[in-house]
């Protein structure tokens, strides 16, 4: 593996054009990319979320996409899966441009992927078993015996075979996410997107989910993309990490490489500093002047 200094790419903000060029290269080793994001631009109203974003996701690895809140991590997942359309740029999934896919093509592509939403997104009117069986019932005509076999295999993999009868409302946050993971892998996808999988979990549940992501990836031969801001947890399982800031890749590389990075943005994020390039205070007028003007009003 390359040394941190070679793999970690500088931020455009900190390192100028060199940073962007390095970001475009992906910053992580490997040439077999399952997803390539090219020159992605996306704005919501007046706010630019992405401005020329370039990312390569290596097939078979666990890739972390990190960044402070509001940098567009979840939006990037939505763009990658065709839930939203960019203003400009390409998202290539196995060579096919997701941004130009019609609904039918998108659905065909989505049969090859799984997604774990932040809250699990389990269907609340059916039980755990039916939730996991849902994609099978919708897309296959398998006999009930085989469906039962597959569902229990997947539930066993996430340790919740015994909870098959429970309704989603009866599950804890960690259990709901594990059921959602079982559902995400039930169609044997090639790639799984995880949207903030560690949010709101207790340390035990978090440890379970962290290990499950790595184990599923290795045992089932998946590609995993984990969107998170939990640096410590994801660092233990990620092969490659991208740090987003100001609509671009501020840095990329292995978790160790990011830790050794010297740019202010990366150092602030990795060490959890309250103030820095990402300011603690939302832009505001002078404090004393604001108090005076409010008193006058």
């Amino acid at each position: 593996m390359d040394s941190p200094s070679e793999t970690a790419a500088a931020t455009p903000g900190d390192g100028g054009e060199a940073g962007r060029t390095a970001g475009a290269a992906g910053g992580c080793p490997g040439t077999d990319n399952i997803i390539s994001v090219r020159d992605l631009c996306y704005a919501r109203g007046q706010a630019k979320i992405f401005d020329g974003l370039d990312i390569d996701i290596r097939r078979g690895g666990v890739t972390a996409i990190m960044g402070p809140s509001g940098t567009g991590k979840t939006t990037l997942l939505r763009l990658m899966t065709g839930q939203e359309r960019p203003d400009r740029g390409q998202v290539l999934f196995d060579g096919q441009d997701v941004t130009k896919m019609k609904r039918r093509e998108l659905f065909r592509m989505r049969k090859r992927v799984g997604m774990l939403f932040q809250n699990g997104a389990l269907l609340t009117d059916i039980n755990v078993y039916e939730n996991v069986a849902f994609p099978l019932r919708e897309h296959t005509r398998l006999p009930e015996r085989l469906i039962r076999h597959i569902v229990f295999t997947k539930l066993q993999a996430v340790g919740l075979r015994g909870a098959w009868k429970l309704m989603p409302a009866e599950l804890s946050g960690g259990m709901a996410r594990r059921v959602a993971l079982a559902r995400a892998i039930v169609m044997d996808p090639e790639i799984i997107y995880y949207d903030e999988p560690f949010v709101g979990l207790d340390p035990i549940s978090m440890g379970v989910v962290v290990r499950l992501i790595r184990r599923m990836n290795d045992v089932l031969g998946l590609t995993s993309i984990v969107v998170t801001h939990d640096v410590d947890e994801v660092s233990t399982i990620a092969d490659c990490s991208f740090l987003l800031s100001d609509g671009r890749v501020a840095a990329s590389g292995t978790p160790d490489a990011l830790r050794d990075h010297h740019s202010d943005t990366v150092v602030q994020f990795m060490s959890g500093m309250a103030d820095g390039p990402v300011p603690f205070h939302y832009p505001a007028p002078d404090y004393a002047e604001q108090l005076r003007s409010m008193r006058g009003g």
Partner: protein, 268 residues
């Protein structure tokens, strides 16, 4: 003073224009949504269990409300009819008056309004919450179209339930009218039923009510699922969508009722 009034008028005109633009925008979106549902209905028809479940949720679970409302509406109708008709010595016709009022107007309209309040709100808030909790996005990510899987069966369930509920409402109303007129006010039972039998036509009266109820079922179910599906995915957004569903359905039913009545009477 004059300038102030002008400014006020301008503000009102702008507000009206803004609301009109919103109305036509929503109206167009609603029509497209309706077309999408119709195109995807074969999916729901191929999965009758989903539709039957929705008929149960929208219809069977509304039965108590519909039956109670029907009973008391019928009783009030008989009471008012008796009070007025007795001045002309025509209190024996209250059975006919109550039955005509119920099967032609009150049955379909009140049932649709109650459906909007009971089942329509449940539909809107359920779909809205599914939107807010990413269940619909989750389905899309599993390559399952929510219009097919969620909206279609619920729409169809409502369309089937409303005419059945209307018939039950009218039947309970007639029972209420009998209770009030015959049992309490002492109108002759034979005259009560024979007047009704002689004057209420199956094709003109009963069927006109059923036809209305089908239109109201389509309108009430469509507006409920449309508002829920297109709500802002927040707690406030779901609440607003639910309110809009009831208000829009109520107004639509009343306007539609006038148009349908004019059409059905004009056909005679």
């Amino acid at each position: 003073m004059f300038n102030g009034a002008l400014r006020g008028l301008r503000a009102i005109a702008l507000e009206v224009l803004y609301n009109l633009r919103g109305f036509f925008g929503t109206f167009g979106a609603g029509q497209l949504f309706f077309l999408q549902i119709l195109v995807n209905l074969p999916y729901a028809l191929a999965r009758p269990r989903l539709v039957v479940k929705q008929v149960y949720v929208a219809g069977v679970q509304s039965l108590v409300v519909i039956m109670l409302a029907g009973l008391f509406v019928g009783m009030v109708l008989a009471l008012q009819a008796h009070n007025t008709l007795s001045r002309f010595g025509a209190e024996d016709t209250i059975g006919m008056v109550a039955a005509l009022g119920l099967v032609r107007e009150l049955g379909p309209v009140v049932t649709a309004l109650l459906f909007a309040g009971r089942a329509g709100t449940a539909l809107s808030s359920e779909i809205g919450l599914m939107r807010a909790t990413d269940q619909l996005s989750g389905m899309e990510m599993m390559a399952v179209d929510p219009i097919k899987r969620v909206v279609g069966p619920r729409f169809l369930g409502g369309v089937i339930a409303v005419p059945i509920l209307t018939v039950i409402f009218s039947a309970m109303g007639i029972l209420g009218a009998w209770l009030e007129g015959v049992v309490i006010l002492g109108v002759d039972e034979g005259v009560f039923w024979s007047q009704m039998q002689a004057q209420v036509e199956l094709r003109e009266d009963v069927m006109s009510g059923v036809i209305k109820s089908v239109f109201f079922g389509v309108a009430a179910s469509l507006l409920a699922v449309f508002e829920g599906y297109n709500c802002v995915p927040t707690a406030e957004g779901v609440g607003r969508a639910t309110t809009r569903a009831v208000v829009h359905t109520s107004l639509t039913v009343l306007v539609l009722n006038f148009m349908l009545t004019a059409w059905l009477l004009g056909g005679n």
